[in-house]
Symmetry: C2
Subunit: 131 residues, 2 copies
Amino acid sequence: MKIGELARRSGCSIQTIRYYEKLKLLPIPSRSEGNFRLYDIKIFEQLKFIKRCKDLDLTLDEIRKLLSIKSEPNQECDDVNRLIERHLERVEFKIAEFRQLRAQLISLRQACSENNKAVDCGILKQLTKDS
Amino acid sequence: MKIGELARRSGCSIQTIRYYEKLKLLPIPSRSEGNFRLYDIKIFEQLKFIKRCKDLDLTLDEIRKLLSIKSEPNQECDDVNRLIERHLERVEFKIAEFRQLRAQLISLRQACSENNKAVDCGILKQLTKDS
DNA sequence: TCTTGACTCTATAGTTACTATAGAGTTTAA
DNA sequence: TTAAACTCTATAGTAACTATAGAGTCAAGA
Ligand SMILES: [Zn+2]
Ligand SMILES: [Zn+2]
Ligand SMILES: [Zn+2]
Ligand SMILES: [Zn+2]
C-alpha cells in the first residue's frame, strides 16, 4: 500500500509518517518503480502501535523505548512497567496543576462580570496587582 | 536596573526577557554607556503582568491581546472577559482529556503487574492489539 | 494519444516558547 | 591589575509536527 492509504488507515498524516521514518520509529519501506514508498502489513501494525501510544500522550522517546523492548522478546519487561508508571504520575501531576489553574481562572472571571472600560476591568486589575 | 536583576526579581530568565523584547511584548529599554539594557519600574511591572498571565497558562498571543487592551483605557473590556472564558474552557477540556488518559493508563498498568519477558508483557500486548 | 487530476517525491521553512552556546565586550571588587 | 561576574549579539537546538515549493508519477476520461 502507498503512503496515502497508510495515512488514511492509521489516522496519521502523510508528513507524520515520513517524519517517523526519518526518526527511525518506522523501518525504511520498499519503493515502487516510480520511487513511491510501499508499505506492508507489518509496518502498518507498527504505526498503529505508535499511534496508540501517542494517544496515551507518550513521547516519541518513550515510544522508541517501548519499540526497542518489544523487538527483543527475551528482555525483561520491568522497564515497560516503570515507564507506564512514571507516565501515569506525570499525567496525575498535570491534572492537579490544571485543577489549580481552573480555580484561579474561575476566581479571575468573577472579577469582571459586566462590561466595563478597560481601565475598570476587574480582570485586568487582578492581573496587574501583586497577589 | 540591569537585566540580571530584572530576571531575579521577575522570575523570568534573562533569555526569556530578551525574547519578549524581540516579540514586542516588552518595550525597548534604554541602554547604559556600555550598551547594557536598563529597565525602569514600568517595564518591571509589565513583565510581572506577563508572568502572571503565563502562570495561568495563557499563550503569548493571548497576553499580547491583553496588553493591547490594557494600553487603551477607554476600550471596552468584553474581549478580555471572552478571552479568559475561552481559556477556561480549554483548561476544562484538558482536565477531562487527562482524566480519560489516566483511566486508560491505570487499566494498562493492571495488565502487567509482575515481571515478565517482553514477549509476555501484558502492557505491550495491550498496546499491540486492536481495541 | 493526450491531458487532467490525484498522488507522491525531496528539501526547506515555520510553529511555540523558550534554552543553550560561542565568542566577544563591560563592570566591579579584591 | 586582574579575575570574576555580568552582559552583548547571533545562531542553533528543543518536540512533534505542519506547510510549502517545485518536481515527478500514475490512472482515467475525451
Ligand atoms: Zn511520559
Ligand atoms: Zn472586564
Ligand atoms: Zn488560552
Ligand atoms: Zn510487563
